[in-house]
């Protein structure tokens, strides 16, 4: 199957990187009073109904995200390691479903998974359990039932 690539288990780097994500979420809440939910912030950059101030803050956060990898390149001399599925039809479908589902369900991995779970929000815990289940089910189907 095309999308079968081994990766190394990185408990410490992942824990440390995760704590930086948490720090970013607390920083945005402390300074702007907003939830660091990427789907919400991104969709507000483009939505017509967004007020000017929200659009500005959201756009700056997204700009920060976009600058992280280039700054990484500048200091380390190489892009972060990655392997991205290259099937264009698969990636187009994945993008549509992720964008639609995240905004329709009011949040994604960051908004529900990190910020909402941290607040013990019932809605976020239910949403996270739901998308984890369908995501694991999807990989089960694509890698083990179709791809086997």
């Amino acid at each position: 199957m095309e999308n079968d690539v081994d990766t190394e288990f990185t408990p410490w780097l992942s824990l440390g990187g995760g704590m930086m994500i948490g720090l970013a979420a607390v920083l945005l809440m402390a300074t702007n009073g907003r939830i660091a939910g990427i789907s919400g912030l991104t969709s507000r950059v483009f939505a017509r109904a967004t007020d000017t101030e929200t659009r500005g803050v959201s756009a700056m956060f997204v700009l920060g995200l976009l600058l992280a990898a280039p700054i990484w390149l500048l200091f380390s001399g190489e892009w972060p390691q990655q392997w991205v599925p290259s099937n264009p039809v698969l990636m187009a479908a994945a993008g549509l479903l992720v964008g639609f589902g995240a905004v329709y369900g009011n949040g994604c991995t960051s908004g529900h998974g990190v910020c909402g779970m941290s607040r013990l929000s019932v809605r976020s815990i239910a949403a996270t359990a739901t998308f984890m289940t369908t995501a694991i089910g999807t990989v089960l189907v694509t890698r083990h039932l179709i791809g086997a």
Binding site: T31, N32, L66, S121, F131
Partner: protein, 147 residues
């Protein structure tokens, strides 16, 4: 000031995604592949993030009536489960399992310009636009009171 801190937050968030390995869809797909080449890293990312966010939010809300550069904390207060929330989450999960990207990592990985990312991101934005223009498909199934 609030724009500068929003930029810094986004930057720190992006570095966190890069360092944790989450800007690499292969690691995400392997986390989701619990019956195959399982890589538990993503659980540590989420755990680490919640370990900081949970006490951080509690301390903030306990000690301050408003954020440093704004007038109020914007925190969702709904507690009801509805089909929009769960249906959206279910659809999101299928897409996440197909591509290994959710919105944060996809935007962080965009400058690396892998062909799959360059296709994923515009379709993700189109999906977001479509969701904003889709009304609640099953409004009657909502249960409980809205917050």
């Amino acid at each position: 000031m609030k724009q500068i801190f929003a930029l810094i937050s986004g930057l720190v968030f992006g570095f966190g995604l890069v360092i944790s390995g989450m800007s690499d869809p292969a690691k995400v797909l392997n986390f989701l592949d619990i019956f195959g080449t399982w890589d538990p890293s993503l659980a540590f990312v989420m755990g680490g993030a919640i370990l900081v966010t949970a006490p951080g939010f509690v301390l903030l809300l306990r000690n301050r009536s408003h954020p440093y550069f704004d007038t109020k904390f914007r925190i969702p207060d709904r507690e009801d489960l509805d089909s929009k929330l769960l249906g959206g989450a279910a659809i999101f999960g299928v897409g996440w399992g197909l591509g290994g990207f959710c919105p944060g990592p996809a935007l962080t990985a965009l400058p690396i310009a892998a062909s799959g990312t360059l296709i994923f991101v515009p379709f993700m934005l189109a999906g977001m636009w479509a969701a904003r223009h889709t009304p609640d498909l099953f409004p009657k199934t909502r249960t409980g009171a809205t917050g």
